[in-house]
């Protein structure tokens, strides 16, 4: 099992890269995980990551793509609430990669 070492703390990841213990998340964890994916986190990334964490705290699950897009549209406006915008920030599967970087469980209802 993979481990991240951040500020002396050892953070265990499951075999898909999600945190074993969600309470260990902090912004530095997201930066490390993003770097592994070849992503440098910008403000545009962070507002989505915090939106995801807010989604999780309100609804107790990680969103699939469709509700993620809708939540972004409601919170951040029409321009950002599009899958193409999220795909640019989090290539591949924004719902999965976003949840991973935001320190959330892997979304259940993905295709």
């Amino acid at each position: 099992m993979e481990k991240l070492e951040i500020d002396g703390a050892s953070i265990a990841l499951d075999d898909e890269g999600y945190l074993e213990d969600l309470s260990q998340w902090q912004p530095a964890v997201a930066e490390h995980l993003a770097a592994q994916e070849g992503i440098e986190l910008t403000d545009a990334h962070w507002e989505i990551l915090y939106l995801l964490r807010d989604f999780y705290s309100r609804f107790e699950h990680s969103p699939a793509m469709r509700p993620l897009v809708k939540a972004v549209k409601l919170e951040l406006g029409e321009d950002k609430g599009k899958s193409i915008y999220l795909m640019k920030l989090f290539p591949g599967s924004p719902a999965k990669l976003g949840a991973l970087l935001a320190g959330l469980p892997k979304p259940d209802n993905c295709l």
């Binding site: 099992m1 209802n109 295709l111």
Partner: protein, 132 residues
């Protein structure tokens, strides 16, 4: 006609799984096709390879396996429901660092999307339940 069956009943504790099995046989005998049998909730226990009832009692999981072999049935076990209950194939056993896998090879682990897809392509979707 294209049918899909949803089995929510566990193989021993309620009758529903056996009813579903008989219905599946009758469907095939009347020339209808079964797109998929989706096992959800405690129904996922039908997928175990380890069921070992006494030799003079019905082995429902083994009967699904035999029927699947004979008719190339698509038997899909809900992955989230199964992994929660400790039923998994080699791949998931490895992922969760378990020593053993116990899903019979005739069954496939997949997501609830397979249930919805079955609804989209089937003329009839019939649920076989046990209580709660």
């Amino acid at each position: 006609m294209i049918f899909s069956l949803v089995v929510q009943a566990s193989p021993v504790q309620s009758q529903g799984a056996e009813t579903a099995l008989r219905f599946a046989r009758a469907l095939l005998a009347s020339g209808h096709s079964i797109h998929r049998v989706f096992f959800y909730r405690d129904g996922i226990h039908n997928g175990t390879a380890l069921a070992s009832p006494p030799q003079d009692e019905a082995n429902i999981p083994a009967q699904w396996q035999a029927l699947a072999k004979e008719h190339q049935l698509d038997l899909v076990v809900c992955i989230a429901a199964a992994v929660r209950r400790g039923v998994m194939n080699e791949h998931e056993a490895k992922r969760y660092a378990k020593d053993n896998a116990n899903l019979a090879p005739e069954f496939e682990l997949s997501g609830l999307g397979q249930l919805v897809e079955a609804c989209l392509v089937s003329d009839r979707v019939i649920t076989f339940g046990g209580r709660s």
